[in-house]
Symmetry: C2
Subunit: 336 residues, 2 copies
DNA sequence: TCGTCGTTTTGAAACGTTTCAGAATGGATC
DNA sequence: GATCCATTCTGAAACGTTTCAAAACGACGA
């Protein structure tokens, strides 16, 4: 039945000091005499005082909080990215607000607005849509913004992985293992990652002196989920054309794998399979999945480091566009 | 170089009204004359005004925000729960702050403290540890608390699933399909879910007139991850004793499955396998996984509904302890 | 005893909202 | 023309912090 929780004033009264001193104990304890500090700390404990972040943020003009908007929290890849972000942020005393846009522009918009209202100090965004307006607005509010898993456009930091290169790696590997009829199982082309990875595949095929049209087919699924992957198998096998499948991510690939095996298709003998992201379940699948690895945790850490640098160094900060190189991880699904 | 973003005052000046009116447009638009409202809305647009949530929360004493602390965001089960919570919350205008305790008491503690500082209106907690102190404190701050995936202790709402029953279902099913030597692959007993599910298994065996010691073995893994599951297979197969394995969750079960298949063990012929949670990857696995299904999304929705009820109805609110029943979903991993 | 200087402590002024008692406005009604 | 309502609008007082100029204190040397 306490109407309002005890504030800094109550603490001050109890400890017999001024509010300024209590605030100092909270924010610069080293400038407070030891005895005083102890008294205040005891009062805090006795009253169960917990700092009111609203008031603090309002007055101080910063919230010590970062917003992270990911494309799909159901995809373990993003979970790992988030882990990296959180780790780097918490080391510097920042807390991360995790938001899931679920690939929906309207949800991305809603979350960005929320973060804006909360006056987060920085935003890490895996964009669904390049909503330049809102990003511009955030930046004009002195909010640091970094694009994650997306190349920047010069006006802000970004951390990405070269997806074209990743597609290339996948293509080269399949070709090297003798495959010549590759189905690319992918999501809508509006998802940049899907488009880029497909482009890389085409490049690899072309570079090998093959005709892309003869070598590659595209099988589009509406959503990058396991279910859709599994369901796509029927179409994948329909005419017996393919001797390999490259999936736009591991979640889909695992669905495809399940579908293939239960249809009696041997992987990799009858059909080679390669995924993307190298999530934990890939190594652990029935037929361990060859995949294109991305340094997920490191992406998160780097992105966080960039926002924090922009936040701390302000004027000296120069925007950077970090691009990681993906790696091929070969497992049984492509090489028996 | 706008030092501070435009506030309600600037909007008021621009629209030629008082701040009170602007606030009304924001919070009770129907009490404002249509013309005035339009003027204010235009000013808001022109200035790019975004409400400052800190100030709002500070003054109004509520943040329209809920905190959700989950045990393991890497487990798709919790992702689904979160989805349910978010859905129910956003329908009522609340935003959810998602936190991951990762099974660590200190992280749970840190997140609860953060949520307390943020003055969230309600907290949904999947407890690592029953930190009654902090929960008590939250509740004394007029913060609604509901326990998720954990039975309550009478003093707050809770939404749980009967894990003992789930373990029973698994046990009964394995016995019904003729298995008599069951290994229970589980995490530390300190995780309540693991303990309860194991208890259910024992009950099923005992109820069938069998001796639990002769019928059940326990194989403990340090963490409920796919890797650990896969690695446990060696021990699982060591003496050829088992004809079935029951895993404490699907993430582990899928790891075990991968290990079994690549060791040449046929599932279910040589060894039946059953998981828990019925995550999406279960249906989609190489050998589709029999599992104990929990209504994850519904758990989230219900939990959110309970907090919101406590928040809205206050005095009339009566604490409820909702317990869902788990369901057996039979797939190929236990029945060819 | 008096300065002086460094360390602590103080107290009041914001920060940007919400809220609410009351003032203005403008019809209706007598 | 006076009165009464309902509808709109106003303005000032919080909300709980942080911050900063200035005051208080103490130790020290002159």
């Amino acid at each position: 039945m306490t109407p309002r929780p005890a504030g800094i004033k109550a603490v001050a009264a109890r400890a017999g000091v001024s509010v300024g001193t209590v605030s100092n104990v909270l924010n610069r304890p080293d400038q407070v005499a030891k005895g005083t500090r102890r008294k205040v700390e005891e009062a805090i404990r006795e009253l169960g005082f917990v700092r009111n972040a609203s008031a603090s943020t309002l007055k101080a003009g910063r919230s010590m909080t970062l917003g992270l908007v990911v494309l799909d929290i159901g995809n373990p890849f993003f979970t790992e990215v988030a882990r990296g972000v959180e780790q780097a942020a918490s080391e510097r005393g920042y807390t991360v607000l995790l938001c899931n846009s679920a690939g929906t522009p309207s949800r991305q918009e809603a979350h960005l607005r929320f973060l804006e209202e909360q006056r987060v100090d920085g935003v890490l965004l895996t964009p669904v849509t390049e909503d330049s307006d809102r990003i511009e607005r955030l930046r004009s509010r002195a909010t640091a913004v970094v694009l994650v898993d997306e190349a920047g456009r010069g006006d802000c930091c970004s951390v990405a992985v070269d997806d074209v290169r990743g597609g290339q790696l996948a293509g080269e590997h399949l070709l090297a293992t003798g495959r010549r009829r590759i189905t690319y199982v992918t999501g809508p082309d509006s998802i940049r990652q899907c488009a880029d990875r497909g482009r890389g595949l085409v490049e690899a095929v072309t570079a090998a002196g093959l005709d892309a049209h003869d070598t590659i087919r595209v099988l589009e699924v509406p959503e990058l989920t396991g279910i859709e992957g599994r369901q796509s198998v029927e179409r994948l096998l329909a005419d017996g054309w393919s001797d390999a499948a490259f999936c736009a991510n591991d979640v889909v690939a695992l669905g495809v794998l399940g579908g293939l095996l239960s249809a009696g298709v041997r992987v990799p003998q009858d059909l080679a399979l390669i995924g993307y992201d190298d999530i934990e379940f890939a190594a652990t699948a029935a037929v361990p999945l060859t995949s294109i690895q991305q340094p997920a945790v490191q992406i998160g850490q780097t992105a966080a480091a960039l926002v924090l640098d922009e936040l701390t160094r302000r004027d000296e900060h120069a925007h950077q566009e970090v691009v990681f190189r993906p790696d091929l991880v070969i497992r049984r699904s492509t090489s028996s």
